[in-house]
Symmetry: C2
Subunit: 304 residues, 2 copies
């Protein structure tokens, strides 16, 4: 089934304890679509960049079968830019600079050829823009997955609460879940979110794995214990991309299949952190992905 | 097979966001033996208390089939006392008061009837005392499991390093693993610990579960997501007690059985945190334990 992803396509400049980068390709939708491209070839992107965005990077997306018809290129404008520095623990980071540029007035245009999408992934951007995408689709997708962040919980809380009523799955990290609900225990936070709209809640805990909540069921997927986390940027988006990519590929939104989707998402995220930015996501093989998934099975399987 | 546990039997006074206690029964060996008592009835305790320790509390241990022949009662002396206050996140705590009392000159005497023990659990206490126990056993147990803490890594590092050469399994939390090795990544920390003596390393991550490292294999067990953590005191010791209790019961130290033992340990720990101190550990039923273990299976099982 076809997947539509909306979100940022951006430049990032990153500093980690292992080094720093110049401007490299980044943005939530970049990570999501690249990750999903290993599962589905019906992979449609809605985003906006400036005329400073190099064709070579768009070519990367095209090579992965990502449909860029919905990628607007604004002449005379600049691409969204974010730079950040990670602390030694790699779990916390400081934003050094944010230039909204083309994102300031992002008007998400949905090409006609995208209208039949069954799976909608609302990558992190302003809730008002995410809602616009839902409203511009003539048919409601089978599954709408929303990612958001602390910034929007702070400055666009009412918009976010309205949007939550329209989505099926919310993907947030543990701190965002707590901030959104005022509940410290993640079981309680997830229960509260499930009263706000989404029937399913995924709480990402970074190196501590991810939790899936749906009705009265909980599933926990570990993160792969890694010797080295080189750069965590985009890991959460890559996780979301693997998750919805697997669902779109299999067209099965049962709890059991969402569990599998979370394992695939976790496997994809474990690749993402191995190199700077999205570099590791550019040329994975099916064998590498299957091998990584097998590691998850070994890691968490036990018999009583 | 018979289990020998050495460690503190103590009074604790606890403050959590949910309330505070007067002096209640605590101590590493208390939690370990109570937890192990649900798995094995050959459960021998070596510890020391003062004459202020009430017989009613010793009766609790006896009711659980714990052999208290090795529990010394020092006339005219006082029981070890610790008081602490948990922060709102329940993951960090401040020590308010420590009175070593009888623990200051603890000389662990091993009754003859304990000499045949196959499983030795060295609960948290000074490494020199833990080593004395090993040296006083005429036959080396089949499996020696060591628990320790940041205090001993700080003030008795050389003793601890010597002791590590003699043990099979080290159980520590994530911060202790990092402190002991200087490695941030737990995979690297575990590998380094495995060069220090223990062939198997268990790293407890509290609400984030536990990792088991042995040779080139890793197993991850989640912690049960709980609505309420009432009091985390003793959860790590309870985990260790369930772990070694299951091993002693089954007399199987294979990797696959250690995985099961970790699941049982995690299940026991999930009970411990539900009430103050060791209260919840006093009257569990086999059905409750099996039900909790089943929840772990549901929580982490997936099929690809």
């Amino acid at each position: 089934m076809s997947l539509l992803t909306v979100g940022s396509v951006a430049f990032d400049a990153l500093e980690t304890p292992f080094g720093k980068t110049d401007k490299i390709i980044g943005g939530a939708a970049t990570y999501i679509t690249l990750s999903a491209s290993y599962f589905t070839k019906k992979n449609n992107l809605v985003a906006v960049v400036g005329d400073d965005f190099p064709q070579s990077m768009i070519d990367y997306l095209l090579q992965h079968g990502i449909n860029t018809e919905g990628l607007q290129i604004k002449q005379g404008e600049k691409t969204f830019f974010w730079s950040g520095r990670y602390h030694n623990d790699m779990n916390t980071r400081d934003t050094l600079e944010t230039q909204l540029n083309v994102m300031e007035n992002f008007d998400p245009v949905i090409p006609d050829s995208y209208q039949d999408c069954q799976y909608l992934m609302l990558g992190n951007t302003a809730p008002a823009i995410q809602q616009m995408v839902i409203e511009r689709l003539k048919t409601r997708p089978k599954l709408i997955v929303l990612d958001t962040m602390n910034l929007w919980i702070d400055i666009a809380n009412a918009d976010l609460k309205n949007l939550l009523k329209l989505v099926d799955v919310l993907v947030v990290n543990d701190e965002e879940a707590r901030q959104l609900t005022g509940e410290y225990a993640l079981v309680k936070a997830a229960a509260k979110i499930r009263t706000m709209g989404p029937k399913t809640v995924i709480i990402k805990k970074g190196e501590h794995g991810a939790l899936l909540f749906s009705e009265d069921r909980i599933f926990f997927a570990p993160a792969l214990p890694l010797e080295e986390v080189f750069d965590p940027t985009g890991a959460g988006d890559t996780f979301a991309g693997g998750f919805i990519g697997h669902l779109a590929k299999t067209d099965d939104i049962s709890f059991d299949n969402m569990k599998r989707a979370i394992i695939y998402g976790s496997a994809m995220a474990s690749f993402c952190v191995e190199k700077f930015g999205a570099e590791r996501m550019l040329n994975l093989t099916d064998e590498e992905i299957q091998d990584r998934v097998d590691q998850f099975v070994k890691l968490s399987a036990f018999g009583l």
